[in-house]
């Protein structure tokens, strides 16, 4: 689909096909971490950064290494290794040169390796056969969309601490219901841009 404008992909990845709200990716850490705005923002930044980096690297590896040797079926292994290696590398670099950032992001970086949103974006990129620029736009947009959703959720959950919630619904239950409501709200965007 080379005719789609990268900007359209970028905005669609944030709003209409948000990774959490319409593709359900990255739910585990979404539910576990969305208790405070500050930590959510930290995790969101880390995810956006890693997503952009790994999408670019995976694009290059897939199209210049796997396709020429017709090894496409190895993409799961290759992608997950790239992601793990990238996360490790980022962790080392950040620890060495930006200690402040390391202390705010540090605990989240290992979590990101198993975040399904990262692998999911790379797989979507292959399935929808995006071009290089489209992949970058898709990676950044997905990361921002993920951040937007988790920060919004953290904001709601902070207020929710004082609300009387039925016993069985406390914790994950109510979080899922709020996520559902957010997903409903985001469907309102669906007329604006569309990718599928």
């Amino acid at each position: 689909m080379p005719e789609i404008n990268p900007f359209v992909i970028f905005f669609a990845a944030i709003f209409t096909s948000n990774m959490i709200l319409s593709n359900f990716l990255g739910m585990c850490s979404f539910i576990a971490v969305s208790k405070e705005i500050k930590t959510s923002l930290g995790l969101g930044q880390a995810v956006t950064f890693v997503l952009t980096g790994t999408t670019v690297i995976n694009y290059l590896i897939y199209h210049y290494l796997l396709v020429p040797f017709s090894l496409e079926y190895l993409r799961f292994i290759v992608f997950i290794i790239t992601i793990a290696a990238f996360v490790q590398l980022v962790e080392m670099i950040v620890e060495r040169y930006l200690p402040n950032l390391y202390y705010s992001l540090g605990i989240f970086l290992p979590l990101i390796t198993v975040n399904c949103a990262i692998l999911g974006v790379s797989l979507f990129m292959v399935i929808r056969s995006y071009s290089f620029v489209q992949s970058i736009a898709f990676g950044i947009g997905s990361g921002l969309g993920w951040t937007l959703a988790i920060v919004a959720m953290a904001g709601i959950r902070q207020k929710l601490k004082k609300a009387p919630i039925p016993k069985g619904l406390q914790g994950p239950g109510i979080t899922l219901i709020i996520t559902g409501l957010m997903a409903l709200a985001f469907i309102g965007f669906s007329g604006i841009v569309r990718i599928q």
């Binding site: 359900f24 990716l25 990255g26 539910i31 975040n115 399904c116 069985g168 409903l184 469907i187």
Partner: protein, 212 residues
């Protein structure tokens, strides 16, 4: 050799008491994504049972030879290898299903259930119990998928496994097929399951706290 009681215990833990989705809120990404049709959920569940059981088996066999600090990487690679098998089989025999599931087959790799079982059970136990534990966890997961899919497909399309159950008089709830329906359905199921087992509440919360 294993006793029958142990086997029973593993299964009741995996399917009911320690159900990965309800009790530990693991692996719900795919639990939500594929559950708009029962057939998709069944295939997904079978794939997961296969991957969980065999990767638990493999990891348990080599657990004494794996250096501790690289075990995560080893586990990931083993899981990816089995996921590739599932993907290739699906592509070869059920191309339409492979297309419908899209990237979610590949995402079995990052399904925390598998990693969780490998880390907490297969790492410490002999091969056969690990294998059964994998099957049990996978079945618990599949059961949840099928339950969610049952309501979503019934209310959304008026059918079950593609066979029409509710006639044309039924106003199709398109809402149930869309993403929000999945979130609400899972929340309701967690609510029901929590209320039914509220006397084990302390136990459950302790587990959830330890799991994070």
């Amino acid at each position: 050799m294993m006793k029958l009681k142990d086997i029973k215990n593993i299964f009741s833990m995996g399917i009911l008491k320690d159900n990965p989705v309800f009790r530990q809120i693991l692996g719900i990404c795919s639990a939500l994504a594929v559950t708009n049709l029962m057939l998709n959920s069944l295939v997904m569940g079978l794939g997961l049972i296969f991957v969980t059981s065999f990767s638990s088996l493999t990891i348990s066999i080599i657990r004494k030879y794996t250096p501790r600090h690289i075990r995560m990487m080893v586990q990931t690679l083993i899981i990816s290898a089995y996921v590739i098998i599932v993907d290739i089989v699906l592509k070869a025999y059920y191309p339409t299903m492979s297309e419908a599931l899209g990237p979610y087959v590949g995402l079995i790799i990052t399904n925390c259930i598998i990693m969780g079982r490998c880390e907490s059970f297969a790492q410490k136990n002999p091969p056969l119990p690990s294998f059964l534990d994998g099957i049990a966890s996978g079945m618990g997961y599949t059961l949840v998928l099928l339950t969610i899919a049952f309501f979503r497909e019934l209310l959304g399309f008026g059918s079950i496994f593609g066979y029409t159950i509710l006639g044309s008089w039924w106003p199709r709830w398109i809402f149930m097929i869309m993403p929000p329906g999945a979130f609400f359905m899972l929340a309701i199921l967690i609510w029901v399951s929590n209320s039914l087992t509220s006397n084990n509440k302390e136990n459950a919360t302790a587990l959830a706290g330890g799991e994070k």
